[in-house]
């Protein structure tokens, strides 16, 4: 019996988005990272091409995290009180981008003023030459003060700024536009809202080709399949020519995976589950590799072992030089 030809004919592709700027393009980064550009279902080489392999960003905070489990403390505890040192660490670990979260600007987490956020961003930019993702604290009133200043301080670096939401998108969109950054469009596990935020942002004159979609994320065992189906539907819409859904996707896997008890419970609390030094990174890696299949272009991760496992998986799926 002949094997049926399962090849699909797609009319469009995911937008490629380049992050970071080198000296030649007005920035100071050592290299740029391009995500997206796929012209078919993820990793089906016969269906379309994957011109840019999914990229990995590693978390750096502007303050020492509290409550991170031991495997993460072992990896970053010696540097996490200093964002610049932490950024150098994630560069050494092979991150493609630094994912800087201005957690400390949150009114309940230190309420750092905008100037301190600016200093942190500058210090991180000076500490390593990776492209930068910068998130506010997701308290709109505070982000409105902080993010325009941050965007201005990082002008020329072509950062990815997080993020625009349906309820509050004007300030961050204007800041990204004024200072030449890319923008994360956020929606809470709702593909219709994902499209709506893109419409709103685009209506302000921000280019659809400079947007990265953050559809929120969920960990293995905690609703991951909802995000997976959103990724699938979004990718199919993009490939079928919906320009409002043709943006590449960023997922916050590290944050979600390390929140769940299976990943973080210590060895004495869960002796039957195996050592947390492996269990936590495994939970993170499995969540990430599953979501890659749905169509993720940029993954935010935390643990070095998870990074290694995800990189190997991407390599096996896409091919190319050994990581």
């Amino acid at each position: 019996m002949p094997v049926p030809d399962a090849k699909e004919k797609w009319s469009a592709r995911v937008n490629p988005v380049t992050l970071g700027a080198t000296k030649e393009t007005g920035g100071t980064r050592g290299r740029t990272v391009t995500i997206g550009g796929a012209s078919g279902i993820p990793f089906l080489g016969f269906d379309g091409e994957t011109p840019h392999r999914p990229a990995i960003a590693l978390d750096v905070w502007d303050k020492e995290p509290t409550g991170w489990p031991k495997p993460l403390e072992d990896a970053y505890g010696d540097v996490w009180s200093d964002p610049a040192a932490w950024a150098r660490r994630v560069a050494e670990l092979g991150a493609d981008l630094v994912n800087l979260r201005l957690v400390g600007t949150h009114p309940d987490e230190g309420d750092f003023p905008a100037q301190r956020a600016v200093d942190t961003v500058k210090a991180v930019l000076a500490a390593c030459d990776l492209p930068l993702i910068v998130w506010g604290c997701e308290v709109p009133a505070k982000d409105q003060q902080v993010m325009p200043k941050v965007a201005e301080a990082a002008q020329g670096e072509n950062c990815l700024l997080g993020g625009a939401a349906e309820a509050e998108y004007r300030t961050i969109t204007a800041a990204a536009q004024a200072y030449g950054h890319k923008l994360i469009a956020m929606s809470p596990c709702d593909i219709n809202k994902a499209k709506q935020v893109n419409i709103l942002v685009s209506d302000m004159g921000f280019p659809l080709t400079d947007i990265v979609i953050f559809p929120s994320t969920a960990a293995l065992g905690y609703g991951m399949e909802y995000i997976y189906s959103i990724l699938e539907r979004g990718r199919l819409a993009a490939l079928s020519g919906d320009r409002l859904m043709a943006q590449p996707v960023i997922l916050d896997v590290g944050y979600e995976a390390w929140r769940v008890k299976e990943a973080r419970s210590s060895d004495d609390l869960a002796p039957a589950w195996g050592p947390v030094a492996w269990r936590g990174p495994a939970w993170e890696a499995v969540t990430a590799t599953d979501l890659l299949q749905g169509g993720a272009d940029l993954l935010i991760l935390r643990h070095p072992k998870a990074v290694e496992a995800v990189r190997n998986t991407i390599h096996q799926l896409v091919g190319g030089p050994t990581p």
């Binding site: 219709n192 709506q196 419409i199 209506d203 409002l244």
Partner: protein
């Protein structure tokens, strides 16, 4: 939804005068309005105008082409005229995509027009009728539609350039036909993978009726549910266009968002 604009038709007095007096501004203003409303193809019907019809087609095509690069559909019930006009328009505007509107499934008609479409890379609308006239039944419509489809494909017309028009008659004189047309679309759509386009001269359904707009809008939505994906209609009728897009959202042809009409317009650049 592929919207064929019905507005450039000599049956309208303004268009008739525009053609007879060579007032291109009149035509171009209408074209701009139709394109702004979402027209994808500009249908051109000369109606009862003066002068050489081939020259009129060429003049209108040029005038429309000055303001839009949308495909042009040459609309006439006279196959001999279409067979002469299409090559002339193609020669005058070699980059313009053309559609022949229309050709019946009568063998001599198909032999006359399908090769013209093939030679000029044009699309073609096939009516589900033959030398015996417009069928009353579903079966005859399906038979004619299938015969047209097969002949067009055998002549090398790609399926995406083939439109089947199951011919809608006014609901006030032929009350059974709206249902029969929908059923014909359903059956023809199932018989061919990928299916051709299905198109209707929508306004015909409400001819001489009082509630024209409401009937057009309601019937368009019903036919979209049956598989219709193109219509010759007034693209400037906002309620009509928005009803069509809403129907397509319900059929999962567009991803929903609260501003789905705006999204549709953005994607078209209008």
């Amino acid at each position: 939804m592929i919207i064929f604009s019905e507005r450039i038709n000599g049956m309208y007095r303004d268009v008739q005068a525009g053609i007879n007096d060579r007032q291109k501004e009149v035509i171009q203003a209408l074209v701009r309005e139709q394109v702004a409303g979402g027209a994808d193809v500009m249908d051109i019907n000369l109606g009862p105008t003066k002068g050489d019809p081939v020259e009129n087609f060429v003049w209108l095509a040029r005038v429309i082409r000055e303001v839009t690069d949308k495909p042009l559909s040459l609309d006439s019930a006279k196959p001999d005229l279409l067979a002469r006009a299409v090559p002339k328009v193609h020669e005058a505007l070699p980059d313009a995509k053309l559609v022949i509107n229309s050709c019946t499934a009568a063998p001599d008609n198909m032999a006359k027009l399908i090769p013209v479409a093939a030679a000029s890379g044009a699309g073609i609308i096939g009516l589900t009728m033959d030398q015996e006239g417009v069928p009353g039944s579903v079966e005859k419509r399906v038979e004619c539609g299938a015969a047209f489809l097969v002949t067009a494909m055998e002549n090398g017309i790609p399926v995406e350039d083939i439109y089947i028009d199951p011919i809608i008659l006014p609901v006030n004189v032929a009350p059974k036909q709206p249902v029969n047309v929908m059923e014909a679309i359903r059956q023809l759509a199932m018989a061919c993978d990928p299916p051709p386009h299905f198109i209707l001269g929508l306004s015909n359904v409400s001819q001489r009726c009082l509630m024209k707009h409401l009937l057009n809008r309601t019937y368009l939505v019903m036919c979209i549910a049956a598989g219709l994906d193109a219509a010759i209609m007034d693209a400037a009728d906002k309620d009509l266009v928005e009803a069509a897009i809403s129907a397509e959202v319900m059929l999962d042809k567009h991803l929903y968002s609260d501003d789905y009409i705006k999204a549709w317009r953005m994607q078209k650049g209008i």
